[in-house]
Symmetry: C2
Subunit: 319 residues, 2 copies
């Protein structure tokens, strides 16, 4: 619970379910990202809210800005990582089996447009999953305005995050400029349409990723400082699966560096013989004896590939 | 060639290729949709252009507004159908093996956002294919502004379609309002990012559709006035394929009526036993003896399913 309308509504709706005996609430967790001056007020608001609902309260914090800088990722990414790490820790200590978050249809549509604009191509458009890795999002089919109307009808309040109004932030730009333009052009239900497309793209992407993961395991073998993929079966794959196998190979050795669809294109150019080799943030692609070989930039630090066995031996090269 | 910047640029670029002996141009085709008062001027412009390029010219026309009304489809849909029917006819008479159209990255991005806003979920986001059914779109990776710069550099002119400025038309709203907002928020290259997502979604969708088509043929059998799908194999499918098989079944009997993702959801509710039956624009879904049966609304007018053989016999019902 951040104290915003979505999570406050989640708290009261879950409380109603608990009162009916349909769930047990282990407690309310609040994470302080240290990004707002008023963060202590947010925490106090959530603590008082939990007390009023008769629920346990746990809070945690991390220097999100510092983590982002250190890890070379965006503040939004660092915030998400730290927040979920905290939530999983609190859930484990409390013996909770699920973590519920307050994501709405609005969040789903925003995330889709944001990923679209950033060039997410492959499975990246997927968006937010209703249930994944122990996290449930029961409000994903509900609009934010409806949650606010619900809270108002109960006489409940929430915190308006003034940083949400800063349209230099891309997510806020999507929320406050682009989505209203979509609604003006196509009517009020366009947000539901976008969220539905996001959910279906997520479903398609999850299955294609799982198929590609299975194929990757069967095709990938170790190579000094990298991964070797047997070319013949790779060439026989339909493009949606071949792309994802190449992406998974790069992700396996990228050590957190960002790999995108244009790096997949580079790998495909090598596979198709259009280029002899290609450099990507993950490493160097080239042909070696019937294999398409990715050699990590990180050298010896390469993470082991989740491979079973090599399909063809790769000669050790002097690096 | 419509006379707009994209198709005029296509003409001159193809002419350059022809002059290098890399293609043979059978001719220039222009379709008059009878939607603009200035349509005769457009045709005269294109005829003069073809003459200047030393190319054969063929024109055709249809009452697109009347067709749209008669068939109960949008003017845009009717225009596309009539235009491609004309192009295929001209190509066949000329012995041409390909039809080249002037679609750009801008068209790809516009189409994606338009379909997104209209709730296209399954494979509908696919957008425009670079090569499909004998139609090639060599400018799909090129931006409209670059084509205009190319024409300006050659001293060539084109027709500005004043109906393009009418933002009550959803496509124009996307072009003139939404895409500029995306560019303002995310920079100039956002249009390429959207077009790339559209191309990848098209590739994913085309493969999933082909898989579903193969599965549909293996699962579908005839039923009086409709189609019977064997339930056991249908339930065993991953959701992305199950949804597409159900969609294909409905499209096979819908006789042109629009079927969308919410009708697929209705069919899934019947499959999962959440509902006993469901009505869709294609027809009525229900369980009959181990089959999920779709009975067409059109009754005896049902098109035959592209099925090979029934997986289970369906008892003839009195209708």
């Amino acid at each position: 619970v951040s104290g915003g309308s979505d999570s406050v509504a989640l708290l009261w709706l879950m409380k109603d379910l608990a009162d009916e005996g349909r769930v047990d609430i282990a407690g309310v967790a609040h994470f302080n990202h240290q990004l707002r001056d008023v963060a202590p007020d947010d925490e106090a608001f959530c603590r008082a809210l939990a007390a009023r609902a008769g629920l346990e309260f746990r809070s945690g914090t991390a220097d999100v800005r510092g983590r982002a800088k250190h890890d070379g990722v965006s503040i939004e990414d660092a915030a998400r990582r730290e927040r979920y790490a905290f939530l999983r820790d609190v859930a484990a200590r409390a013996g909770a089996t699920r973590i519920a978050t307050g994501h709405t249809t609005d969040d789903q549509a925003e995330t889709f447009l944001l990923k679209l604009a950033r060039g997410a191509g492959l499975s990246g458009l997927g968006g937010i999953y209703p249930f994944r890795d122990g996290v449930i999002r029961p409000l994903l089919d509900v609009r934010r305005r409806d949650l606010r109307a619900f809270l108002a009808s109960r006489g409940e309040t929430w915190i308006e995050d003034e940083t949400n109004a800063d349209v230099s932030n891309p997510r806020n730009r999507v929320r406050h400029v682009l989505l209203p333009q979509f609604e003006a052009a196509f009517g009020d239900s366009v947000l539901d349409a976008i969220a539905r497309a996001a959910a279906l793209a997520a479903e398609d992407g999850a299955w294609l990723d799982a198929e590609a993961s299975r194929l990757f395991s069967s095709m990938a073998g170790p190579s000094p400082g990298g991964i070797a993929l047997a070319e013949a079966p790779l060439r026989a794959l339909p493009a949606p699966l071949a792309r994802r196998v190449l992406l998974q190979a790069m992700r396996a050795v990228a050590a957190g560096r960002e790999v995108g669809s244009r790096h997949v294109e580079a790998a495909i150019d090598v596979l198709n013989g259009r280029c002899r080799s290609a450099e990507t943030p993950a490493g160097h692609w080239e042909h070696i004896r019937g294999n398409l070989v990715l050699t990590s930039r990180a050298g010896a630090e390469v993470e082991p590939a989740p491979a079973r066995r090599p399909k063809a031996r790769v000669r050790t090269r002097t690096r």
